[in-house]
Every structure is written in C-alpha cells, then in structure tokens.
Amino acid sequence: MTTKTPGRTGLTRYTVGLPIVLVLLLAATQADFRSPQNLLNFSGQIGALLIVALGQLFVTLVAGIDLSVGSVMSLASAIAATQAHPLAAVALATALGVAVGAANGLGVALAGVHPLVMTLSTATFLQGLAYVVLPIPGGAIAPALGAAATGQVAGIPAPLLWCAAAALAASLVLRRTRFGAHLFAVGGHPRSAYLNGVRVQAVVVGAYVWCSVAAAWAGLFLAARVSAGDPALGASYALESVAAVALGGVQLTGGVGSVAGVVAGVLSLGLMTNGLNLFGVSPFMRGVLTGALLLAAVSLQRRRIVGM
C-alpha cells in the first residue's frame, strides 16, 4: 500500500471531502438550503455538538473517552434554568465542569479505572443530580444568556461566533501551548512521554477537565437557545460527540486528531440532519445514516491495532 499516512492530524481526503460533497449536493438540489435563514438555523443546530465534540477531542487524544458529557450538558442546563443571574449560571456551570473533569481525570489517571466505566458512573450520578435540580423541563433562562446565544454581532449570528471561538480556542491550545503538545505525546506513547519528563497524569486530568467544561458550556448554549432547562437535554450527545470525533478522523487509541477533523465531522453530521429535513426523509432514518457513515469512515481508516 502506498497511501500517504495522515500523520497525527488524522485528516484524510474522506474526512475533509465528506462535508464538502454534502454542501455541494445540498446547495445544488435544495434552494431552501441556500437561504440565509437555513444557514442561521444550521449554525445554531450544530453549535452545541461542535463545542462538546471539541472537548471530546482532547480526551480522545489521550486515548480516553468521555461518556459523561451528555449528563454534564443536562445538568448545566438545569443549573442555568434555576439561576436568575447569568453570571451565576455561567460560574456554576464552569465549576461543575471543572469538578466533573477532575473526578473523571483522577479516576482514570491515578486509579487506572477504564475511561468507559469511570465516565459511565459519573454520567449516571450526574443524570440523577440533574433530575434533582430540575425535575421537569422548564425553568427560566436569564435573558442575557439567551441574547448571547441567539443574537447577532455586527450582522454575524452569535452561534456562528461561538462555533468559531470554540474551534479557535481548541486549535490554539493544541498547536501553540505546551499542554497541547503534551496531549499528543501522552496519546502517542504514555511511557515515552513520561520518560521525557511529561507529567502524564496531570495532562490526562487536564484533558478531562477541558472536556467537561466544554460540555458544561455546550449545555448552557443549548439551554439558552431553547430558553429552558431540560434534565434530559444532553442524553444523545455523549454518543453523538464520539461519532463526530470518529468521523473527523480522530483515533480512539490516542495521539491522532485535529480540530479541523472534528469540525469536518460535526459539519457532516449536521449537514446530514439538515439535508434529511430538507429532503423530507423520516428523522428516524437519521440514526441509520449516521451509523452507515460512521462504518464507512472507520473502514477507510485502517489501523495497525485490532480491537478498541
């Protein structure tokens, strides 16, 4: 085989090509897709997924997986719906993210619990807590939060700006900081990273904290968009963020992934949902198509390792 190896970004022509093909297909066949209103809706629809998937990227880079992001989103939205002051909501949600991330990270890095089990147990706990904080969907979101998530700045819709900010922040951290370089080092080979002086456990904890904080903010964003809290708001996002990350060429075995890939993966998932709506296909087929896309995507990225 003489195919070029994608290196540590995991970007291949398929990961980048898929959203482009989908955009061209939709733009050519559906006039509605090109309308500014649809583009505005679209950026709002994918915003939360993009923010949480960029968090998931950090965890997958160190060969982890975080199934608790969905519950963190739900709990953050429940918190937002019970706080009158917007800053209190943001501060509490951020604190929640830090606490959950630290718990997950310490369990995985210090105790050596498998990430699937560790984050599954925190996900179960937090889901219960979300029902305690807000038993039924509802509550009131502070108007300032709603404006921040749905308004416009200089004619540019706010969701688009949040997406750009999230991608930029993740990209800067991964490319320009020591923490970013260490994430790749730990994911590539934890033992050699350790021998070269990287504090492996601290890096892993940092990745989980980043991921949980991103999930908490994604929950705030989503709650602000629908202007209500919902204790089951994020239920589907745990697996969906993993799917988006995998579609973007990120390897679950660690050390391979990029912000551009995750953006491409989220765009692919979002465009598919949007396209299905426009084509009038039953929304129930969405899971089927997502699954098929995922299978195709992972089948095209041949690895050396068998298993996980």
Partner: protein
Amino acid sequence: MSRTVLYRAASFVLALPPAYLGTAVLLASAAALRPNLLSPFLLLLILRQAAPLGFAAIGQSLVMRCRSLDLSSGGVIAVVSYLLTSGVMPLPWPLALPLCVLFGALVGAFNGFLIVRVRASAVIVTLAVSMILSGTVIALSQFHAVGDAPEILREMGRARVAGVPLVPVLWIAALVPTALLLRRSAFGRVLDAVGANPRAAGLSGLPHLRVVFIAHVVSGVMSALSGLMLLGFVGVGNVKLGADLALNALAASILGGINFGSGRGGMLGPAVAAFMLVFLFNFLTSLGLGEPGKLMLQGTLIGAAALAYCLRHKDAAH
C-alpha cells in the same frame, strides 16, 4: 499464627473482584434494612431478572478479554424484538427463535469482520451497527406496530423446574460450558494470550485474529439470547428493550474482575456482578428512592467499586 491466617484471608477477600465483596455488602445491608428482599422467593425472582444481563455479560467479558468491546446488543435486541412481535416473520417458534439467534451471530460476525479484517475501532463499529439496527427498527415500526411476544417466550419466562425459575437454570447452563471452554480449551488459552499481548500472540503464530472474530460471534449470540429472555419477561415488543444492556454488561464485566486484555477474571465474576447490579436496582427501588436518588447512588456505587478495585491492583503492581 492466627493473625497471619486472618491477614491472608483478608487479603484474599480484598483481591477478589469487587462484585463478590459488593454482593456481600449489599446482601448484608438488605438484611438490615429490607429483610424481605432476602426471601428465597424474591431472591430467585431477582436471579431470574438478572439472567439477560448475565448472558450479555458472558459475551461482553469474552470480547473484553481480547481487548475488544461490543456495544451492539441494544440494536440486536431491538431487531429480535421487532422480528418476533410485529408479525413480519410469520414462522412457527421452532424456526423463528433459532433465526433470531442466527441473526445475532451474523451481527457478531459482521462486527468481528470489520474489527479484525478492516481493523476498525471496535467502539465505533459496534456503536454504528447498534445505531443502524435500532434506527431501522424505529423507522419500520411506523408500518408494523409491535405486538405481543410469542407465547413460548412468555411461557419460558414463567416456567419453573422443581420450584426454581427456568431462566436462571438456563443461565447456569450457559455459564458452565463457557467457563470450561476458557479454562480447558485451546481457544481459552489463545484468548488469554491475545488479551495479554496481541502482537506477541500474532508473532507466535497463534490464530489471534480468528479468536477475536469468534468472541464477537459469541457475543452477538448472547445478545440475541438475552433479547429473547427480556421479551419473555416484558411480554410485548419494545424498541428500547435492551438499550442500556451493553453498558450495564460492560460495568458487570469490569466489576466481575475482567480487565481489558489482562487475562484476569473468569466467568463467575461477571455473573455475580450481573446479579449484584440487578439486586442493587431492586434494593434501591425498595428503599423508596425516586429515580434521581437511584441514579445517583447507582453511579456512586459502580464508580466506587471500580475505583477501589483498580487502586488496590495498582498498588499490587508497583
């Protein structure tokens, strides 16, 4: 002298998978707080209720031993439930039930093929297969509403052999041969070798890929079987029937002492853990905790058990 014996006994108990100690603690707290949960009648019912999870845990622990994972049982069970309850497959049960098991085997073979031949990530492959299967069932349910489960399955759920429900007997009947297979057969040896070090197993000329493939086929069959049992208990078809089974089976396997690829742990550990989890759900319900409190305690207890076990073995390794 007696102190060393005590010490040895204590360290033996502590070295066991968390499921054993957890079950003992749970039974003791039930004896103190809800003694009627410990009546033989209820214990047997809980054992019966734990059987589907037990079957799923057999399959899950097999694939985990060779460093793989199977998250597809939700999808397999959705299809099995649809095939048997919607009337799309008008066959007598002696044909229909084996076809469902065969379907499970085929899904397992498909997973195994993609994981072994295409070298795709097991998490993603089995997740995607589950999404495709349950999505298809949900889409099709618009045309064929799900109905009652076949009488034979409901009969099997109720049947008793000498006072003991049939389903736990079947569970034990499945456990014994798989445990023997792991202990005594060449397959078990190769499985452990692959789990301990896949590269070394491959370089030594062991059929390391075939073992992973077979483990996935067995896991698919186990998913289908637990789907049949769940269907018998519930009595009517339901798309969400086995939705959380895969992750619970994963938790049961870990609490039962299975670790990704260490070759540790047998067949009894996950079975005890499956009983422990289902007993825990019942115990928490009997305490009158609402859904939130139940979820919180459940998460805490599973996390605490996994933490305690892993911390101890980390100490032992150093």
